[in-house]
């Protein structure tokens, strides 16, 4: 039986072990770089915050850097987590008044990070 290009392409997919390890939260605020306390959100701990792709926390922020009101806040899990932990995290974040535009779950594929780091 003839195989289409689409079928052939789909058949090459390799099975990977996928594990949830954190979330990228896209937060909108006019009040500067967001600040979070360790332990504030259970198993999720803020690892870095970037603005327009440039890391603005922790560490040095260039006084020359122009920032916009949209921050990527990377929260990494400090223990094994499930999707239900993300649901609870989002509820807690909203309850504290953070306005966010999107969330992206972070996974590892066969143990390798399936997401980029900030510059």
């Amino acid at each position: 039986m003839a195989t289409t290009f689409s079928e052939a392409a789909k058949s090459t997919k390799k099975k990977k072990e996928i594990r949830l390890v954190g979330v990228d939260m896209y937060i909108i605020t006019e009040n500067g770089i967001p600040s979070f306390q360790d332990g504030e959100f259970g198993p999720f701990k803020c690892e870095f915050i970037s603005n327009r792709g440039t890391k603005v926390w922790p560490g040095f922020v260039s006084p020359d850097l122009m920032m916009v009101n949209w921050y990527r806040c990377r929260f990494m899990a400090t223990q094994d987590v499930q999707d239900s932990n993300v649901d609870a995290f989002l509820a807690a974040l909203s309850k504290k008044g953070w306005w966010w535009s999107a969330v992206q779950k972070l996974w590892t594929h066969d143990g390798e990070a399936a997401y980029s780091k900030a510059y």
């Binding site: 997919k13 990977k16 996928i18 990228d24 970037s50 327009r52 792709g53 440039t54 260039s62 020359d64 850097l65 122009m66 916009v68 949209w70 990527r72 992206q104 972070l106 996974w107 594929h109 399936a114 997401y115 980029s116 780091k117 900030a118 510059y119």
Partner: protein, 337 residues
């Protein structure tokens, strides 16, 4: 006391010998510059553990202007690119890449004189990428209003200061209506401050075709980061390659002028490479420092030496060393006084 203090970043590979030749020419032009040398690149790794040491950053921050030779970014070592780090630290949002015909490089066009203004900090270069499922990868294309407005504003201001007549926005807003649409909208808003300048816009694929068919029609182009990355090299190719292609990375408080070619490590120490791209970047720097007479003097002498073809490097059909070519330009400047 010197009128200007400039950070010199010789870079690596052929960078140091190129920068010495360029310094010889610039110093002979009559301009009063104190050069402060700082390190950048692979050579810094062992001593500082980074390609861009803090003391280099501090020196550039102090002097606010630098001339940079080529550097190499190691692949797969996990070290951040020195060039990208410089752009981030100083928010060098405007990548200015002129493309002008060099008479000695015979090309099939009568005129090319384009200045590209590439937004240098946003777009798909924001490094926001995810595997959103096990068979789908996604890269966020980040375009912001302030980021788009300031590159357009910068381009219009440059055009006004340099007597340029037309500024066109390059985009794909017919398809990417939000991102490129915002870039185009900000361009049009910025244009309102410059009523004497003709504006227009051109879709990026059509722009590529028009560039190779009739490049003389373009004056100044404003581009988002990705299209700018591609089209600036296309324009360099139109005028003969990267060997004569200058570049500047400019922010609100700091400017770094550099050639866009690589460090050619296999030629390091042989003193045979053409230093023209860094020299033309140096000419751009002199104009930025309002040293227009010195810049014109060097440019005129360089073109004269190239036209004579007696003391030119191997890539343009000669046998001169890097130093001999530079000295010929110096001699030509002195003869022209």
């Amino acid at each position: 006391m010197a009128q200007h203090v400039v950070t010199m970043l010789p870079g690596e590979g052929t960078g140091p010998e190129i920068c010495e030749a360029v310094r010889l020419v610039i110093d002979a032009s009559g301009v009063d510059i104190k050069w402060e040398y700082e390190e950048i690149g692979l050579g810094c790794l062992e001593q500082y553990g980074t390609l861009l040491p803090d003391k280099t950053i501090k020196n550039i921050a102090k002097n606010k202007v630098a001339l940079k030779g080529p550097t190499t970014t190691p692949i797969g070592t996990g070290h951040k690119s020195a060039n990208v780090t410089l752009r981030k630290v100083f928010d060098l949002f405007a990548n200015v890449r002129p493309a002008k015909l060099i008479p000695v490089l015979k090309r099939p066009w009568d005129k090319i004189d384009i200045i590209n203004f590439r937004e240098n900090t946003e777009d798909s270069y924001a490094a926001i990428e995810h595997m959103v499922s096990d068979e789908v990868a996604q890269c966020l294309k980040v375009i912001t209003w302030p980021g788009s407005y300031r590159i357009a504003d910068f381009a219009f201001q440059w055009a006004r200061a340099n007597g340029r007549k037309k500024v066109y926005c390059v985009h794909k807003a017919n398809i990417m209506k939000m991102t490129d649409g915002l870039f185009l909208e900000a361009f049009r808003e910025a244009a309102k401050k410059y009523p004497e300048i003709e504006i227009g816009d051109v879709i990026v694929d059509n722009c590529c075709m028009q560039l190779v068919r009739n490049p003389a029609q373009f004056d100044c182009l404003v581009l988002p980061n990705l299209y700018g990355d591609i089209l600036t090299d296309l324009c360099a190719g139109l005028v003969g390659g990267l060997g004569f292609a200058p570049g500047a990375n400019i922010g609100d408080n700091c400017s770094i002028f550099e050639a866009v070619h690589g460090s050619a490590p296999k030629y390091a120490g042989m003193k045979k490479v053409n230093p023209s791209a860094v020299l033309v970047s140096g000419i751009m720097m002199l104009r930025w420092l309002k040293e227009t007479a010195a810049a014109d003097r060097i440019e005129k002498a360089m073109f004269a030496v190239l036209d004579e073809r007696k003391h030119v490097t191997y890539d343009v059909g000669g046998t001169a060393t890097t130093d001999e070519y530079a000295q010929a330009i110096v001699d030509k400047m002195h003869a022209g006084k």
